[in-house]
Every structure is written in structure tokens, then in C-alpha cells.
């Protein structure tokens, strides 16, 4: 029979929990507090965990609820993101049709752009594209339908691509698209 102690079930997910907390709160100290609160709450609720079910999804759900209930109000509101202004897909005249500029960006620039996404887009993108969780597990963790996961992820990536492209253009990594081309 597999070992299903709290320790063996929860500790393997600490890195994921910390990274998700960091992206939700936007600062390391707050992320550490959020993970500690999450683990304390999870330990107290361990009796209600169904053996054999997904511990990672269960922990992410607790972390996310803790964030919504106790942390979100203190968090900075992302600025400068117009979620209705979804950038168009790159066109055939794109100066960088293969998106090589992404590999030239440093982590801080990428993570700053991720942090600028509104909460509902950021959490889906972090869980899917940074942590590699399957759609079904994200849906379970966030208590939303799989279709909503997909549509938020689609928009999150487009918004993120737009902000990283603007950054790359502003720093000369790629030439700006000229007005005639758009």
C-alpha cells in the first residue's frame, strides 16, 4: 500500500506551490507566508483528503482559496493590461516570424510580464505553461470548467505575447511593425 502520509503527499509539491504563490502574490516574502498558511491549513484538513486522489490539485486549491480570501485584497492590481485588446496573431510580414526574440529575453522580463496579467489569466497560465498541469487538474484546482481553462489560457498567451513583443520592440530586440503593415 502506498505511503499516504501528509509529509510524503505534500512535500513533493512544495516547489510548485512556492512558484504559484510567487506569481500570485508578486513578492517572495508574501509567497512564503502564503505557502506556510496553505500547508498549515492542509495539515489540519488532511483527514478530509481522499486517499488516492490528486494531492497537488488539492493543495493548489487550498493555496488559491487562501490567496483569494486573505491576500488578493492586499495585492497590487495589474496595470496597463487591456484584456479586451487581444493582440492579433503574427502576420506573414512579421520581422521575426519564428519568435526568436523570446529566447533573448531574461527571466525577470518574462516573469514581470506574467505578473502583469490579471489574476484569472495569470493563474491558468502559470499552472499550465509553467507548471505543466493538465487542463483537467487546473479545472479541478480552480473549480472552473475545462472549456474556461482553455479559453483563459488562449487569451493569457496572446496578452503575454503582446506585452513581451512591445517590450522587445521598445528595447530594439526586434524592429517595430510599421503602420503600413498593420
Amino acid at each position: 500500500m502506498p505511503d499516504e502520509s501528509f509529509e510524503s503527499s505534500a512535500l513533493p509539491h512544495l516547489d510548485t506551490l512556492y512558484r504559484v504563490a510567487l506569481r500570485l502574490t508578486g513578492e517572495p516574502a508574501a509567497a512564503q507566508d502564503l505557502v506556510q498558511d496553505t500547508m498549515l491549513r492542509a495539515l489540519r484538513a488532511w483527514g478530509s483528503f481522499r486517499p488516492g486522489s490528486n494531492a497537488r490539485a488539492w493543495l493548489v486549491t487550498i493555496l488559491r482559496n487562501q490567496f483569494i480570501n486573505g491576500w488578493r485584497s492586499e495585492k497590487r492590481t495589474p496595470v496597463g493590461v487591456d484584456v479586451d485588446a487581444i493582440p492579433e496573431p503574427p502576420d506573414p510580414k512579421d520581422p521575426d516570424p519564428e519568435g526568436r526574440f523570446f529566447s533573448e529575453l531574461v527571466d525577470d522580463e518574462v516573469l514581470h510580464a506574467v505578473d502583469g496579467l490579471p489574476d484569472e489569466f495569470r493563474e491558468v497560465l502559470v499552472l499550465s505553461d509553467m507548471e505543466g498541469l493538465p487542463y483537467a487538474e487546473i479545472a479541478e484546482s480552480l473549480d472552473i470548467p475545462v472549456g474556461t481553462v482553455k479559453s483563459r489560457l488562449f487569451r493569457a498567451r496572446r496578452i503575454l505575447q503582446g506585452s513581451l513583443r512591445r517590450y522587445a520592440e521598445s528595447t530594439g530586440l526586434i524592429p517595430p511593425k510599421s503602420a503600413e503593415e498593420s
Binding site: 496573431p89 503575454l160 505575447q161
Partner: protein, 82 residues
Amino acid sequence: MTLPAECETALAQLDAWRRGTLPAEELASMQTHLDACRRCLSYKCHEDALLDRLSNAKHNCCCPDELRAAIMQIIATGSRDD
């Protein structure tokens, strides 16, 4: 701008294709579309590059030792309280 329906279909299936869950016949029609449509191919390249970059960014960040120690302490205290 409105994309042609076949482009919308191809873009919507990209994730299933990456995750290896796209049925064989849809896989073939998607590949045919990507071979012929520069816009969708460019879109795919951009998204692949973005996903690569996001996945790399995570590798430089893990749970700090002091947090891990604090959590071990929480577990140890919790176990003693049982």
C-alpha cells in the same frame, strides 16, 4: 481582423497537438494547413517559443530552504499534536 475558419480551427487545436491528444486524421489536416498557411505557422512558432521561455523561467525558481524548514517544523509540530 477575423481569421478564416480553417485558421481558427488549427489554432484551437495547437494545444491538443502539443499534448499528443489530437486524433490522427485531425493531426494530418492540421499539418497540411500549417504547411500551407504562413500566418498559422508563424503563430505556432511564436507560441512554441513563448512556452519554451516560460518553462525555462520556472527552473530558476524553487522553494527556499528556510520555507522548507519552516514547513517541516509545522509538520513536526502537527504530528506531535495528534
